[in-house]
């Protein structure tokens, strides 16, 4: 299995402010990787580096084996890029924009584009700038499908979209990707959307990488335990298994990779009496917040 994307020892600073240091990750062919992180943790930075719009302080990213700072035209043809906010040349209408892009890609497939456009309530001469956010996202999606790239890089595909359009986007995308063995690298800040789309995740925080694994594995190993402390002064922060701890009076939300038995053993060993101990099932968003914290 080839690595479509490979980033090695990626380090970047904005002035003196560190974004991340020695970030390593890869995306294998056919997988869908979601980059999750709070605002300011480096999602857009990574997207910019991958697209050749930012030179990292040190380290490199390779796409199809080529350094992203000098991608060849041939390689660029194999990459589809969605800019945050579905930014397009909105002075064009859909007819003009299809004509424009088709000139660059030898494998251009107009059919999927027009199929999507038929679902839109727009005239062929309507300028994209006059369309709604959702309609614009469909145009952007249609163009990517028509380009039929091997790798899709999507920067926050859900920004500004209604739930209906978001659902449409994700469903279309996932079906398309799996059917054609496409590789996708995406970011989004709406975690529920990511959950429907991605196979693998990369969670970054201000300190660096917090998790880098498949979604299934992550959801399987990262747990939340809720319980009530008898003694609300008991200090659990020093416990080795604690990833995050939310304490409101004597109600505890514990986030950990460890098993229930290890947690219970610690409580017993330290004479901490608890009641209503239960594992709470989490969605990806809950797990993300649990891992990164509410602040």
């Amino acid at each position: 299995m080839n690595n479509v994307i490979e980033c090695n020892n990626l380090t970047h600073y904005y002035g003196k402010k560190r974004v991340y240091e020695n970030l390593n990750f890869h995306v294998s062919e056919g997988s869908i990787l979601g980059l999750l992180g709070k605002n300011g943790t480096g999602k857009t930075t990574t997207i910019n580096i991958l697209n050749g719009f930012l030179q990292p302080r040190s380290g490199e990213c390779l796409i199809f084996g080529e350094n992203t700072q000098h991608l060849s035209p041939r390689t660029k043809a194999r990459i589809g890029f969605l800019i945050e906010g579905h930014i397009q040349y909105s002075f064009m209408n859909i007819r003009q924009i299809e004509k424009f892009y088709s000139g660059f890609y030898s494998k251009w497939k107009p059919a999927p584009f027009w199929e999507l456009m038929s679902k839109l309530n727009v005239t062929p001469t309507q300028k994209i700038s006059t369309m709604s956010c959702g309609q614009r996202s469909q145009v952007a999606l249609g163009l990517i499908l028509a380009q039929d790239p091997e790798l899709l890089i999507l920067d926050d595909f859900s920004m500004g979209l209604d739930p209906g359009y978001r659902r449409l986007f994700i469903d279309y995308l996932r079906e398309y990707a799996k059917a054609e063995n496409k590789t996708i690298f995406t970011t989004s800040h709406i975690i529920q959307d990511m959950e429907r789309l991605i196979d693998d995740l990369l969670i970054i925080d201000f300190d660096g990488v917090l998790a880098q694994t498949s979604v299934n594995e992550f959801m399987g190993s990262f747990k939340r335990f809720d319980f009530v402390l008898e003694n609300d002064k008991a200090d659990l922060k020093k416990a080795p298994f604690v990833v995050n701890l939310d304490k409101v009076k004597n109600k505890i939300e514990l986030y950990t990779y460890s098993s229930e038995s290890i947690v219970k053993k610690y409580l017993d060993d330290n004479n901490i009496t608890v009641s209503n101990f239960a594992q709470v099932k989490m969605g990806l968003e809950d797990a993300f917040i649990g891992l990164t914290g509410k602040y």
């Binding site: 697209n51 930012l54 035209p73 890029f81 906010g85 930014i87 064009m92 088709s102 660059f104």
Partner: protein, 223 residues
């Protein structure tokens, strides 16, 4: 044939501005010669010639900033839409060398401007030859040439400035560019620019690839 698509996009951006500008220019030159014709009828041809030859009256002086306006207009029409939301990323992402794409865009704008200018020039020379002998027409052309070169220079400079990602440097480039353009407009008597025109041509040509510099800075992630 990717250049066709590149040109198509540029054409969509500038077509109305180019057509509008060319029409306005044609009207200006037409009006200019209407005033010449009127002058001939009312003041007399010999007096018009005399004031031109010996009293420093340049009948073509209203044309002074016409090419400059053209350069500014086309450059803004072409490059401003690229900077809104950093849309130029879309062009850089195309399967085409980034500099190649930019130079294609730039060449199209410059050629469009050139065609407009050639129309103006042709009209100017044609009408002038009706009223004035060859010497006076050549001297007039020598005098208006720097203004046309300034039109190209302003096109090249505005592209450089608009594509620059950092405001601080946009300011610096504007200051340098603004002062540089004054070189094309030094107070001069008719045909005085003769010795300087070839140098000005070279300097203008130097500016033709200026935009690659700020685009490069953009691609390296300068904010």
């Amino acid at each position: 044939m990717m250049w066709k698509s590149v040109v198509y996009k540029e054409w969509l951006k500038i077509r109305w501005f180019l057509i509008g500008y060319t029409l306005l220019g044609i009207l200006s030159i037409g009006y200019l010669f209407l005033t010449v014709k009127h002058g001939f009828a009312f003041t007399g041809g010999k007096n018009i010639w005399n004031t031109f030859l010996f009293l420093g009256h340049q009948f073509f002086s209203p044309l002074k900033y016409v090419p400059l306006v053209g350069g500014l207009t086309i450059a803004i029409a072409q490059y401003f839409p690229e900077t809104v939301n950093k849309r130029i990323k879309l062009t850089f992402h195309l399967p085409l060398g980034e500099n190649k794409a930019l130079l294609m865009m730039h060449a199209f704008g410059a050629v469009s401007l050139l065609l407009s200018f050639l129309v103006f020039f042709g009209m100017f020379a044609g009408f002038s030859l009706v009223y004035f002998p060859v010497q006076m027409v050549t001297d007039s052309i020598i005098s208006i040439s720097p203004w046309f070169l300034a039109g190209f220079a302003s096109y090249f400079l505005v592209a450089l400035i608009v594509l620059e990602p950092e405001w601080k440097f946009r300011f610096y480039y504007s200051v340098v560019g603004g002062f540089f353009l004054t070189i094309y407009f030094a107070p001069a008597q008719t045909a005085a620019y003769g010795p300087a025109n070839s140098g000005l041509f070279v300097l203008t040509a130097f500016l033709s690839i200026a935009l690659l510099f700020s685009a490069y800075r953009f691609r390296k992630g300068e904010m």
